[in-house]
Every structure is written in structure tokens, then in C-alpha cells.
């Protein structure tokens, strides 16, 4: 095979493989058939392109060949199964002949694929697995190792999700305007869960695990391109702003470094720059919500050259708005911390102490860690010790536990 056609076939696969798959799912109405058809189309290309040259529009060529191969396969299978059923399926396969809006349709196919994989009637686990497998094109083994599960468990999860899509007749479409916002929320949630899964892994584990955070950011960019709503950009901004600080987030031993102690020269100026810009844009756009507000908060942090220069007044104000938009105990806790930084530890304690023994935060280690921290700053050392100990009891992640032990030891010294 000539080197050029191998190189271009690989390039098409890398750049457009998922687009081709998404279009084939629409044309063939099934994930499995689309997967086989795509495979067949690339095999055909590997045979024909070196001989006949690379077609002018490789994506359209592969889609069209994939569709024909699927029809062939159905005809072949029809000899062994009920003919009527398959003939009907073949008849229903639309012709992807080029239309004036072809580009738009193909782009929509990717959005359809994302919305289908993140359909709310699938479990959250299934949504994540399906999105990484079908939208990102990751191997089942890669996803399994990233989520510390076995490939067979994960494969089963994906098979069950696909069966559910088929049996529940979940449509392959971008939701109608009246359904769009809640469905988009489900998509954003899946992306953010993938990001957090990658982000919360300690650096030691991370070396062995697929970079889920980077994968989530890639998904974010794709979604911004397909659907530039305020919250889509807000989420991408939020992920970029967290990701841009990853090198400063843990020390050489893998221990967490709190924001105020991070070496800010390790922050990635490029990622933080674009993240800040997008956060600001999102905040100025109507329809923004919790993601854009969270991004704006991180953006304000990222703007300060030193922790002492942080604009806490602005952050506390943003938390006020976030709490209105998403009245969750965790947001209330973070707001209290921001108020403490703006008005002093006593003001923060006045916010936190009523929440201390109330569900669900009573068993949340970060609540007790925050309480301990404010007590320490207010000079209430015994209370600080008690709360650090309580936080240590509740914390599960080793780097966090090491951090809390260190704080306790400092107070004893």
C-alpha cells in the first residue's frame, strides 16, 4: 500500500472516525450495525484507496460504502433468518446522497449520538460508559481500567445500555426545544462526572489510568462546537480552569496542596487564559447557570498572582448567586468559606455552625475540615482539633487523609 493512502486513511480514522460512526448509526438505526459497517468501510478503503487514489470526500465515501456493506450483510443474513424482517430493515435505510445541508446533518449526527448516549432513562454509569465508548471511541478495556472495573463488567454495562436504547426505542435525535435544556443538563453532567473521575484520581494512580480529565475536555470542546450554549461553555471553562492548575494540585509525594499553598508558577497560563475568557463570556450570556458561575469563581481565583491577592468579595458575591441557582449544602459550605475569607473566620463560623450536625453535611468530611480550618484561624484550637479528627474519620481518599493528619500534627506541635 502506498504510504500516502495509509497515512490519509489513518488521519481520516483519527479525525473523522467518530463522525462517520455517528452518521452510520442514524442511517442504519443500530449501534451494532453501524460498528460493523464502519469496520467494513475502512477495510474497503484500505484495499481501494492505494489502487484508485484517495476519494475527494473521504468521509462521504466511507459513509456510503459503510451503508452498502450493511445492506449486503443484511441480504446475506436474510438467507438464514426471516427474510421479511430484514427486507423491511433494508428498505428503511435512507440514502445519504449529498444534500445542500450535508455538513450540517453530519455535525448533527454527532450531537444526536451524544444525546442518545446520555439519555436520562439510562443509568448514570451506563451513560458514562456509552459516551466514552461510542462518542470518544475508547476501547472497553481502557474505560474499564479508568473506572477500576473489569472489562467484562463494563462490556456488559454497554451491551445492556444498547439493548435498552433498542427496546425502549430511544430516538436518535437532538431533543426538541421544550426538552432541550433538561436533556442538555444530562449531557453536561456526564461530561463533568468523567472529568471529576479523572481529576480526583491521585497522581500515582493517574499514571496508570487513562487521562479521563483530558477526554472530558475534548468532549467539552466538541460540544461547544456543536452547541455553543452558555452552560456548555461554562462547563468547558470550569474544566479548563481546574485542569490548568493540575500540576500545582499535588506535591511530589502525591499529597494534595490546598489552593492557598499552591505554587502558582506551575499553573498553565494558556488553559487558564482561555478558561477565564470563556467563563466571562458564559456569564455575560443569557441562560447561564451553575457551571458558568462555578467557572467564574475559579476564574477569579486564577486571576490572583498570590493567594493573599484573591478578590474574596467577588467570590462571595458569585457564591450568593450560585446558591440561588443551585441551593445545595456543598455550595452553602463553600459560600461560608468565602464569607470567612472576606469578613473574617467568625463570620464564616456563624454560617457553618448551624449546618454542622445536619444531614447530609454531617457526614461530609470537607465540612468538618472547613470548620476545623476556620476554628484554627479564629484561635479555637481545641475545636479545630476535634473537627480535623472528625474529618479524618470520614475522609476516604488517601491524599486527603494525609493532608488532614498533617494539619492535626501541626496543631499538636
Amino acid at each position: 500500500m502506498s504510504r500516502e493512502s495509509v497515512a490519509s486513511l489513518e488521519a481520516v480514522y483519527r479525525r473523522d472516525g467518530r463522525r462517520i460512526f455517528a452518521t452510520l448509526v442514524r442511517l442504519l438505526g443500530s449501534f451494532e450495525r453501524a460498528e460493523e459497517a464502519e469496520h467494513d468501510a475502512f477495510i474497503a478503503a484500505a484495499e481501494q484507496w492505494p489502487r484508485d487514489g484517495v476519494p475527494a470526500n473521504p468521509v462521504a465515501w466511507l459513509v456510503s460504502v459503510g451503508r452498502f456493506k450493511a445492506i449486503d450483510r443484511l441480504r446475506r443474513d436474510a438467507r438464514f433468518t426471516s427474510i421479511d424482517e430484514d427486507a423491511e430493515t433494508i428498505e428503511k435505510i435512507p440514502d445519504p446522497s449529498p444534500r445542500h445541508d450535508e455538513q450540517e446533518t453530519i455535525e448533527d449526527d454527532r450531537l444526536r449520538l451524544i444525546f442518545t448516549c446520555c439519555h436520562p432513562s439510562l443509568s448514570e454509569e451506563a451513560r458514562i460508559a456509552l459516551t466514552l465508548r461510542e462518542v470518544c471511541g475508547l476501547a472497553t478495556e481502557e474505560i474499564a481500567s479508568a473506572f477500576l472495573t473489569t472489562p467484562s463488567t463494563l462490556a456488559q454495562r454497554i451491551v445492556r445500555a444498547k439493548a435498552k436504547i433498542r427496546d425502549a426505542r430511544i430516538p436518535y435525535e437532538v431533543p426538541e426545544p421544550d426538552q432541550f435544556a433538561p436533556r442538555l443538563e444530562s449531557v453536561l453532567r456526564v461530561i463533568y462526572l468523567v472529568f471529576n473521575e479523572g481529576y480526583s484520581a491521585s497522581s500515582g494512580e493517574l499514571a496508570l489510568r487513562l487521562d479521563l480529565a483530558a477526554e472530558a475536555i475534548r468532549l467539552g470542546w466538541l460540544l461547544v462546537r456543536l452547541c455553543p450554549a452558555a452552560e456548555v461553555r461554562g462547563l468547558l471553562a470550569l474544566m479548563l480552569l481546574h485542569h490548568g492548575r493540575r500540576r500545582a494540585r499535588t506535591d511530589a509525594a502525591g499529597d494534595l496542596v490546598p489552593l492557598e499553598e499552591q505554587d502558582r508558577t506551575l499553573w498553565d497560563a494558556r488553559e487558564l487564559g482561555i478558561g477565564r475568557a470563556m467563563a466571562l463570556d458564559a456569564l455575560r450570556t443569557s441562560g447561564h447557570g451553575a457551571y458558568a458561575l462555578q467557572a467564574a469563581i475559579v476564574a477569579v481565583h486564577s486571576e490572583a498572582a498570590t493567594a493573599a491577592e484573591t478578590d474574596w468579595a467577588q467570590i462571595a458575591g458569585l457564591y450568593d448567586r450560585l446558591l440561588q441557582c443551585e441551593p445545595s449544602p456543598v455550595v452553602a459550605l463553600n459560600r461560608a468559606v468565602a464569607i470567612a475569607m472576606r469578613d473574617g473566620p467568625e463570620a464564616g463560623l456563624a454560617q457553618i455552625e448551624p449546618m454542622l450536625n445536619q444531614a447530609p453535611l454531617a457526614t461530609y468530611h470537607l465540612m468538618h475540615a472547613a470548620h476545623a480550618d476556620l476554628c484554627r484561624r479564629a484561635g479555637r484550637i481545641a475545636d479545630a482539633r476535634a473537627s480535623y479528627a472528625r474529618a479524618l474519620d470520614l475522609a476516604r481518599q488517601e491524599p486527603e487523609r494525609r493532608f488532614l493528619r498533617r494539619r492535626l500534627a501541626e496543631l499538636r506541635a
Partner: protein, 140 residues
């Protein structure tokens, strides 16, 4: 990845209409943001094509033609070179660019070839030649 971001010309820019004080300030702020994000390599505004010339190549012959040139929308009125992570990132930055023109206009984003893109036509020796030339120009 490096990108050239081209501000395309308009009738006004070709007529020599100068940018307003507001636009100059806004552009200055935008450039400051690009620099802070560490992506700004270089850039500048171009005088109208009436100030320029074209040198036509035909085999060994060279013919010089004075501006202005027709096909205004294909002309360039300004440019940047940015070093960003992806085309998508470049698009996001361009979105934030202050509108450079009073009439409708385009900004075009074009990726630069990296050394790897040239394949085997670029021998290691030639590659070193290119890299050294640019490195010494930068250090001057």
C-alpha cells in the same frame, strides 16, 4: 500548535480609514489578554494595499506591480500568530476579539505547517537549517 489569524480587509480598511481610539484601546486590552495567556507570538495591522506591491514570479522572471489590488475581501488588513492548543481554542479567542471593522468582515484562522507535516521531503539536515535560522533570528 501555531495559527495565523488573518483580519480580512474591507472597503474602509482599503480606503485607509484609521481605527478609532476606542478600537485601539479594546485591541490593546485583547492583546494584553492574549499575552497573559502566553499564546501571543506576534502580530500587527497592515496598511492598505495601495501602500504595497506585488512581485509576480514566472519561471525566472520577476515583475513588480504597484497596489492597490482588487478583490478586497481576499486581502489582509492585519494578522496575529498565536500558539494555542487547538483550532477550537483559537476560535474561542477570535470570538472574543473586538470587532475590527465597522462594516461586516471576516477573520480567518489558518494552522501553520509544523516541521512534522513535511514528511520525508524535509531531511534532518534541512530541518536543522530551518530551526537554526529561526532560533538565531529570535535571539537577535
Amino acid at each position: 500548535m501555531r495559527f495565523m489569524v488573518l483580519v480580512k480587509a474591507t472597503n474602509e480598511s482599503e480606503a485607509g480609514v484609521m481605527p478609532s481610539a476606542e478600537l485601539l484601546t479594546a485591541m490593546g486590552r485583547f492583546n494584553e489578554e492574549l499575552a497573559k495567556a502566553g499564546i501571543l507570538d506576534s502580530g500587527g495591522g497592515l496598511k492598505p494595499s495601495s501602500h504595497g506591491v506585488r512581485v509576480r514570479f514566472s519561471g525566472s522572471a520577476r515583475t513588480v506591480t504597484d497596489g492597490p489590488f482588487a478583490e478586497t475581501k481576499e486581502l489582509v488588513a492585519g494578522f496575529w500568530i498565536w500558539n494555542v492548543g487547538s483550532l477550537e481554542e483559537a476560535i474561542e479567542w477570535v470570538r472574543r476579539c473586538p470587532n475590527p471593522m465597522t462594516s461586516d468582515s471576516d477573520i480567518e484562522i489558518r494552522p501553520l505547517f509544523e516541521m512534522e507535516d513535511f514528511g520525508e521531503a524535509l531531511t534532518p539536515e534541512t530541518r536543522t537549517l530551518h530551526e537554526d535560522a529561526f532560533a538565531s533570528a529570535r535571539n537577535r
